[in-house]
Structures are given as C-alpha cells and as structure tokens.
C-alpha cells in the first residue's frame, strides 16, 4: 500500500517520459494529475485507516525487498509509516496535487509540456521515497532523486543560460551538503552498525535511533563536534540539511532556483523538497537530543538564516525572489525550532508553511502570467481589480505568513517563538537571544510581505498595457504575443489557489498551542507527532530548575506531561507576537503605500554581496586554479601531451605505455616472458 503511493507517480513519470511526446496536453495533464491524485487518496486512506495506531505511536513497516546484505551491512527497500511520515505524505501529496493542477494551466502551450510533467511526477516519486524510507540509504536515494529533479526542473528552460547556470549552481551546492550527509551516514553506521531507523523484530533489524537512545548524551562543548561521536554524526547530517534546505552558508542556490517555472518553485523550492532537511533532522531527533552542541548549532544557524534572509527579502524587486528569500527565512524558523528541541513545532511550521508558501508562489505565478511574464514588482501595482481571486487568496497567504492572529502561520510561528524563549538544553541567555532574533524576523517578515502585497495589488498601475514587458525572466511559451491588460487566470489555476488559501487559513487549527487555549483544546498535531520524535523533557519556567549539566534527557514517555503553570508566560509571549505581526503589517502598509518605489539600502538589495563573496573566495580560485593549473598545466601539458606524445607526465606514463605497446607480436612475447620471469624470480628469491 505504501509502495503504491510511491510507485504510482513513478509509473506516471515513466509513461510521460516514454510516450508523452506524442500525447496531447490534455492527456498529459490528466495522467500527471491522476497519478498524484491516486497517491493523495491512498495517503489519506492510510492515514485514517491507521489513525489510532499512528496516534498510539505505532510504526508500520512495509518490507519490499532486500537490496544488499553483506556481513553486518544490510539495506532494504522498505518503508515506514509513522505519524511523522504520515503528516509529510499527507501534505506532500495534497499540495503536490493542487500544484500539478495549477501547472496544467500555467504551462499551457509550452513545447516541453510532457517533459515538465514527467519530471514533476518523478519528483513526487523521489520525495515520497525520501519521506517513507525506513533507512538512511533509501532516504538517500530519495534525497538524490529530489536533487536530480530539482536540477532538471530549474534548468527546464535549457535554452536559457541563466537557467542552466542556476541549475548547475543548485546541483553543485547541494553536492556539498550531500557529502556531509553521506559522511554522517557512514559515521552512524560505524557507530551503530546499522542504517535503519528503528528496530524491526519481524526482520531482526536493529535501528540506529534505538541505538542512539541507549547512548549517554555528549557534553555541550565545541570539541564534541570533532570527537567522532554522536555529535559528529548529528553535525554531519545537519550539513546535508543545510545544503538541501538552503541554510547559511549554502542557501545561495535557492534564489537562483527561481529560474524554473513557477509551479516548480512552489512545489519543490517552497513546499516540499527544501523541507527535507527539516524532516531529516526531526527524523533523527533521537540522535540530536544526544548531541546538545549540534542542537545549538542547528538553532543558531536557523535563527541567523531566518533573520539574514528576511532582511534580504525586504529589498528584492523580483516577486519570486522575495518569496524565495522568504522561504529561506521560514526554513530558518523550522531549524530554530528543531535546535531548541521543539521538533514538533518545527514540523508544524513545515506543515502550515507548505500551504501558505505554495499559495503565495502560485499566486505570484498567476500574477506573472496575468502580467504577461512580468516579474518585476516595480512594473506592477493596482492589480487588485484585474485579478480579484488571485488577490483574495494571496491576501490569506499574506496574513498567514505574517503571523496575523488566527491564520495558520500565527499558530506555528508563535509556538516556535515560545519554545525558543524557554529553550531547554541551552543556556538562558542563548535562549533569549534566539527568541529575540526570531521576533525581529517575524517583524521583518510582516514588513516585506506587506511590501510585496502593496506593490503588487495596490497603488498606481505602473505598467503599460500596450507593449509586452521587456526583459521577462521566465519564458513559458505562448503568451508573449497578446499584450493587453492584466487578466485573471483560468479556472485550472484559480481553483488550486482557493483550495490552498483555505489551507493557509485553517491548517493552523490542527495544532493550536495549548498555552493559548489554556489546555482546553489539545494540540492535536503535537500529540500526534510526539510518539515519532524524541524530545527533550519539556522544561517550563517555574516548573523545574535546569540541572547544572544543562541537558536533562528523558525519553518521550514523560514528554506529554501537562504543565499549566507555563501557560501564563506563553500567553504573554503570544501577545508580543501578535503585536509584532500587527506592527509589521502596519509599518509596511504605511511606508510602502506612501513610497512604493522606495530604494532599499544597497547592501540589502545586493544580498549582502554574498554571491560576490563566494565568487571571489571560492569560484574564482577554483576557476583560476582550473584554468592555470588543471587546464594549462594538467590538461594541456599532461593529458593532451600524452596524446601528442610531448607532455611531462605523459613521457613517463603514456609514452612508456606506447613504447611497450609497439604493435609487434615478438616484443609482446618478450614482455610476457619478462613478466613471467620477474614473477618467478620474485617468488623464488623471496
């Protein structure tokens, strides 16, 4: 059953890839959407079928086949459904389905229609494999699969240089992260002797996480990172997450990834793939809670990325770039949550974010299409009346991401801020700083999202309706030839917007923080997740003093204990969050209504010159090195030299080879005899 969820999109991808070229757009769209729809239905069916079991913390293994089994090393293709992966497949298939529907309209008339949907289905397959795997190797298969699809889809407009460059950049930066991930898995295997997550008695498998729970935690010291212990495992795995989830310092590929078609940005680079890093960290939570240093690194990098990217987002003109930086920033939030031990809150934010960010991206896609492929917000404005539905749905997304009360983002973001304020396992001062950074980020987020909305939908119309927009970045075919006033998108695009907007508004009610309701409404989401992820013992202020060692670790059994004393603090902090959100929206509204084209500081507009910095410190040295050393010396002198018989190393290696390989049978015989004599001599003399 689980296998079917994964395989149906693969079948779709295969059909489209093999025969799609000869199909009509309609058929292609139907195949692509229906395969994902089947997965979606299956996911929902499975979830509700096994709901009680999942809530009770049961792990449903589905064994398919053994891939390799040598000595102590064993890898299976086997799947795992627990509440964590269940939540993931629910929103991946659901959001994925609606994005597929959106894309059938968005990509209309494109020459590579079949190719696009083949990739999209392949992506769904890889992502679901990643999430449903029950061991690190299969997860890695999915991990690389989504990377590959991301590469293919970013470079979808392969005739455009910028798309190719962006695709390559994404590919290379991700490889750096993957390297860390692979090393982490190797180290984990050498420590735990298994690459499976959990024990499975049916197959006689030991799980790495069950192993981790038997370990004593590493101390909170920097040296633990290089100690080769569980902290090293955690840090290496996190390097993988940094690459995939676009965190500092490997975030640079994500903004460029917007070169892909907008549905791709929505699906891969906002809602699903980039959250794989968060998934992995949450999945490996039992490792992380034994590595406080790694937790701290996760929290710090998450918080820093959140603030850093948010400030850049403040200054972008390209509507998709704003959303890209916003995504990076929100991913930072999720890692912040994981770093302070609130894995459940992090996943909850992943969940709500999937809805509102997919919505915002699709909305921006609708705007871009309506504007005839214009992405620059300086040439938009006043679109409210042309695109009412897009406006209304994006409005919901705007309030959700800004943390406006009772929208979905409000609940998840509030939970994260609260949990970082009381972060246990971290020194108090650190916790306060993390909270403060998170709060400032929330403010900035509200401001830049308001800016985006104001620039796009309100104010003066800054576009001309007579000529096609010059310098359009994105080139889905077919629309350039009919300039005219902006228009609302077709139904196939509007419907997904509406559905996702509903999600953006209501998804938060699955996990209302218990502090808010005073414990009257159970935080269903957190209760559901609790059995799947290990957590630090929840330490409420005033409830128990932190032990001097700083890391009181309990298994999840104790976690659900209710602590009503903390609710007062939580409510206070919630009040602060609401104020921040309102303030942010207010500032943005007042400021950008008045000066929509206000020039932001150059430093922000140029993204802190990070790309230039990387260019100067990494890219150029490699380029220079490869030009002057690899090319000019190695390639010209050694490789080419060998061919020409004139190189340095070649004269040692190549021409010796050549000399021996004279083509004369008698010299071959001589060499054979010589070789045999040498061997005999060696053996006899020894």
């Amino acid at each position: 059953m689980l296998a079917a969820i994964i395989l149906v999109p693969l079948v779709g991808a295969a059909i489209l890839g093999l025969f799609g070229k000869r199909m009509s757009e309609r058929v292609i769209g139907w195949i692509a959407c229906s395969t994902v729809a089947v997965s979606t239905i299956l996911s929902f069916y499975l979830f509700f079928e096994h709901r009680a079991a999942l809530e009770g913390g049961e792990k449903l293994h589905e064994y398919l086949f053994t891939w390799i089994s040598v000595g102590t090393f064993r890898t299976d293709a086997s799947l795992l459904l627990d509440s964590l992966s269940a939540i993931y497949i629910l929103f991946i298939t659901f959001v994925g389905f609606w994005i597929h529907v959106f894309a059938t309209g968005y990509m209309r008339g494109d020459k590579g229609y079949w190719r696009f949907f083949a990739y999209m289905n392949l992506f769904m397959f890889s992502m679901l494999t990643l999430v449903l795997a029950d061991n690190f190797v299969l997860m890695f298969v999915g991990w690389e699969g989504v990377g590959l699809c991301s590469y293919l889809l970013i470079g979808y407009y392969f005739t455009k240089d910028f798309a190719n460059d962006a695709a390559k950049k994404a590919f290379i930066v991700n490889r750096i992260g993957d390297f860390g991930f692979v090393l982490g898995v190797f180290l984990l295997f050498s420590k735990a002797g298994t690459i499976f997550y959990f024990n499975d008695t049916a197959r006689g498998i030991h799980g790495a996480f069950d192993w981790a729970m038997t370990q004593s935690p590493d101390p909170l010291t920097w040296s633990a990172i290089f100690g080769g212990g569980i902290t090293s495992v955690a840090v290496l795995l996190f390097v993988g997450a940094i690459g995939k989830s676009a965190q500092l310092p490997l975030y640079v590929w994500l903004p460029d990834a917007m070169a892909g078609p907008t549905p791709v940005s929505a699906l891969i680079h906002a809602a699903t793939m980039v959250t794989a890093g968060v998934y992995m960290v949450a999945r490996a939570s039992s490792i992380y809670i034994h590595a406080p240093t790694a937790m701290m690194i996760v929290a710090i990098i998450g918080a820093a990325t959140a603030l850093f990217a948010a400030t850049i987002g403040l200054a972008q003109w390209d509507i998709k770039k704003v959303l890209a930086y916003s995504t990076i920033s929100q991913l930072g939030y999720m890692f912040l949550a994981c770093g302070v031990g609130a894995f459940g809150a992090g996943i909850f934010h992943v969940f709500t974010h999937a809805f509102f960010k997919a919505l915002l991206f699709l909305g921006s896609g609708s705007v871009i299409l309506g504007m005839h492929h214009e992405q620059d917000m300086r040439r938009m404005g006043g679109l409210k009346k042309y695109m009412p539905i897009t406006f209304a749905t994006m409005f919901a997304g705007w309030f959700a991401i800004s943390g406006f009360p009772l929208f979905s983002g409000f609940f998840s973001k509030d939970e994260i801020l609260y949990r970082s304020f009381i972060a246990n396992g971290l020194p108090d001062s650190w916790a306060r700083i993390l909270w403060f950074v998170g709060a400032v980020t929330a403010l900035v987020t509200a401001v830049y999202m308001t800016r985006l909305m104001v620039l796009t939908f309100w104010g003066r119309e800054r576009f001309s309706t007579s000529e096609p927009a010059p310098g359009a970045d994105s080139v889905p075919g077919g629309h350039e030839d009919h300039p005219g006033p902006p228009h609302e998108s077709p139904a196939s695009m509007v419907l997904p917007l509406v559905v996702l907007a509903a999600g953006a508004v209501f998804a938060g009610y699955l996990g209302v923080p218990e502090g808010l309701s005073g414990g009257k409404i159970t935080n269903y989401f957190e209760r559901l997740l609790e059995p799947s992820i290990a957590s630090l013992h929840v330490m409420e202020p005033g409830h128990a003093q932190r032990t001097p060692e700083g890391t009181p670790l309990e298994t999840r059994a104790e976690a659900p204990a209710r602590m009503p004393e903390g609710h007062g603090l939580e409510r206070t902090l919630t009040g602060v969050s609401i104020l921040i959100a309102l303030a942010g929206i207010g500032i943005g509204w007042v400021w950008f209504k008045r000066k929509p084209l206000w020039e932001p500081p150059r430093l922000l507009e140029e993204k802190y010159y990070v790309d230039e910095l990387y260019n100067a410190t990494v890219v150029q040295p490699i380029k220079v090195g490869s030009t002057s050393v690899l090319w000019k010396v190695i390639d010209v002198h050694i490789i080419d030299g060998a061919v020409n018989g004139a190189g340095h190393l070649a004269s040692m290696l190549g021409s010796t080879l050549r000399y021996l390989q004279s083509g004369l049978a008698r010299s071959y015989v001589a060499i054979v005899v010589l070789g045999a004599l040498l061997i005999i001599g060696y053996f006899v003399m020894k």
Binding site: I68, Y668, L674, I679, V684
Partner: protein, 559 residues
C-alpha cells in the same frame, strides 16, 4: 559393458545436454550457410539464436532438476561436474552469446560479411566456454580452452579483406598459442608432482607435496619440491593471466580488440574473459586451494616459507587495475579505450579470488555476470554507430549523439555509469561485493588493495564521463542520422533493463551467485588465522573409475 553405454547416455542427457544442443546447432549453422542463397544468410543468425535459447532452457531444466537438489555430481570419469558454479557461468556465456548474436546481425550486413560460419564459430566457442566452466580435469579444461580459443582466433580475423582484422588475428593467435604452451607446461608439471589431472585429487595431494619435507624418492638431502610446485603454479597463472588480459600479459588485448570486428570485440571482452575466469577459478580455487597462503617452511632445518598465489594475484591485480585505467585515459579510439577498460575490469574481478571469502567469491561471479551485460551494452551502442562510411569507433563519432538518438544515448549512459560502478546500476552491486569481500578479510594489505581499487574506479569515471560529455555536450560533427536495427534495439533494451533491474533488485542474482560461491569443493580462507577451512566437508568426487583403468593414485609419500 552395456552399463557403460547406459551410463554415458544418461550422463550425456543429464550433464552436457546444453552443449549437445549447441553442437547440433553449430553444425546446422555451417550446413545452412552453404545451403542458403546469399541474401538469406541472416536466417542462420536466428537459427543459432534458437540454439542458444534451447541450450538455455535445457540448462535451466538441468539446474532445477539436478543441481539445485543436493550435491553436485561428476560424470564422464570425473571429468565433468555439474554444480552451481558451472551453471551460473554457463548462463553467463549463453546470455553473452545471445546478446552478441543480436548485436552482430545488422553489423555484418553493413560490413557485407553476413555468413553462417560466423554464428557457427560463436556457438563452437560457447561450447568450449561451457566445458571450461564445468571441467574438473586438467586435460578437459585445456581442450575446451583450445576449442574456445581457436574459434575466437578465426572470429577476430573474420574480416578477411581488412588488414587490421588480419593483423589482430595473427597477433592474438601467436600470443595465444604461446600462452597455451606456458599453461600446458604448468599443467604438465602439476601432473608430474601430484600424479593426477583431476582437480580434486590434485587438491588432495597438495598438502603433502607442498610440505617442506616432501621426499618422494627417499633421498638423503631432499630437494625442495615446493619451488617446483610454485613454478608450475606461476606458469599456470601466467597462462590464465594471458587469457583474461591481466598486466603484464595484456599486450595483445588493445591490438586484438581494436582490429577485431566490433561485435567480436564485444563477445571476446565478455565471453572469453568470463570463461577464462571460470577456468581460473576452477584451477586455483578447486585445484590449488592450499597454495593460496604462504607455504609453511621448516625453520628447524632452515627451510624458508614461500608465498602463495594470493600474493601473486594481489600484485598482478593491483598493477592491472592501475595500468588498465591509466592506459584508458589517453585513448581516443573507443574500442581501444574499452580494451584498456576491460583490462582494468579483469583486475577488479581478480580481487574476488584474492579475498577468498564468501563475499569475495560472490563478487567474483556476480561481477562477471554483470560485466557481461553492461560491456555488451556499451559495445552494442558503438556498433549502432557503424553506418555507411562511418566506422564509429572514434570518440568524435559520439559527438552530439543526444540530439540524433536520445534513446541510444540514455542506454549508453546507463551502461557507462554501470561500468563506472555508480548506483543504482548493476555495476555498483558487483563492485560493492568485490570490495566488501576484501575489506571483510580485515587484512591491512587487502584493505589497502580495496582502497586502491576504489580510487582507480574513481579515475575510471573520468574516461567514462568523457563518453557522456561527447554525447551530451559536444556538437554534432557529422549529420548522418543514427538508426537502430530492430535486433540491436532488442539486445540493447534488454541489457539496459537488466542492468537497472539488477541494480535495484539484486537479491535474486545474489542468491544465485551465492550458491555458486558456496559450491562444495570451494574453500574459503581466513586471513586472520591463516588457515584453510573447507566451506563444506570437502567431498571428493565419487570415484567412478573406468573399468580396467589403472588408477595411478595420488602420490603418497613413503613414511
């Protein structure tokens, strides 16, 4: 005497049925060749393919009805054995032959050399290969080796009007005859020392002959017979190294591979190689297992201990891997490049023999299986490039292939990645087992050898990716379109699917090869204790002596 007839008749049915069928079809191919008119000769190809198919079916029947039940049995006076080892190798040869025939049909048409002997010779050489895998007697091994070799000599020079083909054939023949002589010399010395040509008897006699104080003549100062034993072992190894093209006995390979018709290059690089390895395994794992580790000396009387064949193979495989990969780096002719690549792969396969444990043996067999499929695939893609006026064996001929034939390009990519050992292709599984086998021994030198092999397979990626770069990135150099003949397409698609299938679902093949790697008689070796322990109680083949045969028993030293 009537029992003999019955025995042999039943044995023929039970043991060499596939070979018998192939012989029949090989003869039929020859007869058909002269009977059919010139433009109908491709019919012979289909007939031979049918023969291979029938042989495969009968092999399968033999396997399910005999081999998979109980211990292997010997036949024909202990000359032939039918065990999983033989069956797996035979299936490798049959798959290789079937794919090669499919690759050849269109190619020979283009070359204007469509003749029936070609297929007849392929079948004859396959018969030789199959006997190589199942013979457990030095003489039978040698004769089957020659049957294979002579057929292949002719096939290499099959293009009579092509000078390169003639030259390649001549060189291959001269050097092959030379190496056969070397091998035969080794065989004769082993016979002289142990008094038997039967591998099981040789293995039984070895501990006595290899002991430091073996003194058959009761001389006052016993000569150290171990040197003679080593000498014969080295000579046999040298002969086998030649056949599998291991450095320094590889010199013929690039020339022969380049000159031979491409379809024959493909067939040689997999069939001949796999068969030679099958024989290599029989000789060394079944016949000379006790010569693996060092031969104990006698410190009391100042007799040194001597190294065994594991050391020899280790050094040769290390050199072979390095040499083959470095040699491939600078080649521009794809056939020559693949010749060097196949040399390096021979080095990898040797690793399985060196490891001496179950994982290693599994790797040894499984790698040959996989190598057969993926290498035939690559050659098939190169054959597809042969068109009117274009030979298709230069690197430039691949340029811009993606635009001309995307399906072919994708399949070629799969095969190349598999050769490079990238998951999820089959090549990864093979390499994984070989390397894992070495690492499992825990011997520091063998672990170093594994690291070297891994590093060199990274180097090999460089030249495999050169192909990929040419196909995807370079612009087209000539406009002529590439079309796939149906037979070639079938072969390539089947090979590509197999490569991916084995890469993703390897377990079935692993089970099969593991059976081969644990066939009775194969001895595993632990480098930790340095002791030999039989995988199962070594079962000497049930002696079924020929009536009236004077049994010259294994040389038993007088005590």
């Amino acid at each position: 005497m009537q029992t003999d007839f019955q025995t042999i008749a039943t044995q023929a049915m039970q043991f060499i049925m596939p070979e018998g069928i192939l012989t029949l079809f090989a003869c039929a191919a020859l007869v058909l060749d002269v009977m059919l008119p010139r433009d109908r000769k491709r019919f012979v190809a289909w007939v031979s393919l049918l023969g291979v198919g029938l042989a495969f079916a009968s092999l399968w029947i033999l396997y399910t009805s005999i081999v998979s039940k109980g211990t292997p049995r010997t036949a024909f006076f202990d000359m032939i054995v039918l065990d999983s080892y033989a069956v797996v190798f035979k299936s490798i040869f049959l798959i290789g032959a079937a794919l090669s025939i499919l690759l050849s049909i269109k190619y020979l048409e283009i070359e204007g050399e469509q003749r029936g002997e070609y297929y007849g010779l392929i079948l004859f050489s396959v018969i030789g290969m199959m006997f190589m895998a199942s013979s457990v007697d030095l003489l039978a091994l040698f004769i089957s080796l020659e049957l294979m070799a002579v057929s292949v000599y002719i096939l290499v020079g099959y293009f009579r009007r092509d000078k390169k083909s003639n030259e390649a054939s001549m060189k291959y023949f001269l050097l092959g005859a030379f190496s056969s002589g070397v091998l035969l010399y080794g065989i004769s010395m082993v016979y002289g020392l142990t008094g038997s040509t039967n591998l099981a008897k040789i293995a039984a006699a070895l501990p006595i002959v290899a002991s430091a104080n073996f003194n058959p003549f009761g001389a006052a100062a016993p000569p150290d017979m171990r040197y003679l034993l080593l000498m014969s072992m080295i000579l046999m190894a040298a002969g086998m190294f030649f056949k599998v093209a291991a450095v320094p006995f590889h010199m013929w390979a690039p020339d022969a591979y380049e000159g031979a018709p491409t379809s024959i290059t493909a067939f040689m690089s997999v069939g001949v190689k796999a068969a030679s390895f099958a024989m290599f395994g029989r000789l060394f794992l079944y016949g000379l297992p006790d010569l693996r580790g060092s031969l104990a000396g006698d410190p009391a009387s100042g007799i040194p201990s001597l190294p065994g064949w594991a050391l020899l193979l280790g050094i040769v495989s290390a050199i072979t891997i390095v040499w083959g990969n470095l040699g491939a780096l600078t080649q521009n002719n794809t056939k020559r490049l693949l010749a060097y690549s196949s040399i390096s792969h021979a080095g990898y396969v040797l690793l399985g023999l060196i490891a001496g444990n179950q994982t290693g043996y599994t790797g040894f067999v499984i790698y040959l299986f996989i190598y057969t499929i993926m290498n035939l695939g690559v050659f098939g893609c190169i054959i597809a490039l042969r068109r009117r006026g274009i030979v298709g064996d230069r690197m430039e001929d691949l340029n811009g292939l993606m635009k001309k034939a995307p399906g072919l390009t994708v399949m070629m990519t799969i095969f190349l990645l598999s050769l490079g050992g990238i998951p999820p292709t089959a090549g990864f599984i093979g390499k994984f087992y070989l390397f894992a086998g070495l690492i499992e021994t825990g011997n520091p030198w063998l672990v170093r050898l594994a690291i070297l092999a891994v590093l060199m397979s990274v180097v090999s990626l460089y030249y495999y990716i050169r192909f990929i770069r040419a196909m995807y990135i370079e612009g087209e150099t000539e406009p002529q379109p590439v079309t796939l003949a149906p037979s070639l397409r079938v072969a390539l698609v089947a090979a590509a699917i197999l490569v991916i299938y084995i890469g993703v679902f390897p377990q079935r093949l692993i089970d099969l090869t593991q059976k081969a790697a644990t066939s009775p008689g194969l001895k595993t070796y632990s480098y930790q204790q340095g002791a030999t322990k039989p995988a199962e109680p070594a079962t000497p083949p049930p002696a079924r002596g020929m009536p009236g045969e004077r049994d010259r028993q294994t040389a038993t030293p007088p005590r």
